[in-house]
């Protein structure tokens, strides 16, 4: 019985080491925040479209699952994810809609002229209010919204090929099937 006390430090060490191993596991980002709006209805928005007049609105997107991507011409990581969005739009025919977050229309247009336009339509969120309603805390952020307008997934930061293949595409497939 007394001897157990001498095992205590080793035991404590094991518990700590276990916790560290868990907290340092690959693919875990302690700064990542789950969206507060997960599985809730997306906040309403009705934004002037960048090109071709008209608007981009939540209610206009209902009826099919869509991907909504917050981006900005001044955002460097957005340029990193851009080729992936192009691939998604062209090869996988994913309906991607863009929201230009705190961006000037001419700057957003220039970015798309340079790097290609993966978006079916782009809404201009000049003052970042729609971003605020979505809980965006940095661009890029990517949301999957189902046909009823509910947010089903949020990706913070530039999308990676792994995220697209393992999470985004399967989820869209599931949402389209149901």
């Amino acid at each position: 019985m007394r001897r157990l006390i001498y095992l205590l430090p080793a035991l404590l060490f094991l518990v700590l080491a276990g916790y560290f191993a868990w907290a340092l596991r690959p693919g875990y980002d302690p700064r990542a925040l789950p969206s507060a709006l997960l599985d809730k209805e997306a906040p309403a928005f009705d934004l002037a479209a960048l090109q071709g007049g008209g608007t981009l609105s939540r209610d206009g997107l209902k009826g099919k699952p869509v991907v909504v991507n917050f981006f900005a011409s001044w955002c460097v990581p957005c340029r990193i994810e851009h080729p992936l969005l192009m691939r998604l739009a062209q090869q996988d025919h994913v309906p991607i809609y863009g929201i230009a977050y705190k961006d000037k229309p001419e700057d957003a247009a220039r970015l798309l002229a340079q790097m290609g336009d993966p978006y079916r339509r782009i809404g201009l969120d000049r003052d970042g209010r729609t971003g605020l309603d979505f809980g965006v805390y940095g661009v890029p952020e990517t949301y999957v919204i189902d046909r009823d307008g509910h947010i089903r997934k949020r990706f913070v930061g530039p999308l990676t090929a792994d995220q697209v293949n393992d999470e985004l595409l399967p989820l869209l497939k599931k949402l389209s099937a149901s």
């Binding site: 507060a36 970042g128 805390y137 940095g138």
Partner: protein, 190 residues
Amino acid sequence: MSVPRRLLSPALATWTAVARPFGCRARVVSIASLAVLAVSVAALALTALPTTAWAVQPWERLSDPALEARARTITSELRCVVCQNESVDESNADLAHDIRMLVRERLKAGDTNAQARQAVVDRYGDFVLLRPPVEPATYVLWFAPVALLLVGAAGSLVYLRRRAHAPGGPAPLDPAERARLDALLRDGDA
């Protein structure tokens, strides 16, 4: 001369020990020490000052001082999600500005403090609250310190009780040992 030195003892003792070899007189040393102390206290006071005054821009402020004070109270308890260890009130991040404006807008529209705070929580989740709510998921956070204190107190109590009831001290000497001890003590006297 020796009075202030005794009052400021540990820091001063080191300082005098350093200064003596250089031929400084004690009074000079005392004055220098006081100056060092004063500067350190001032520096400490400066760092303790709230840095809030620099993040909230003049044009963000509401004209109604009561509303503005409420806005400051609310935003100082909200976490800025960009620089996660600063409050929205202290942060210079763009997003913190947006949240400050959202809270002020809601207050102007007649929201209570709780409603305005909830507007931010609805968008960013409980994570933005620097003071987490008491709910099942945070019970460990809130109650673990008290629980650990109680466990520690109970452990100490058991330990102390047991020690008090244990047969105290070494066993008394038997006659042979007593005789030997006496002999040794006598030798020492001789």
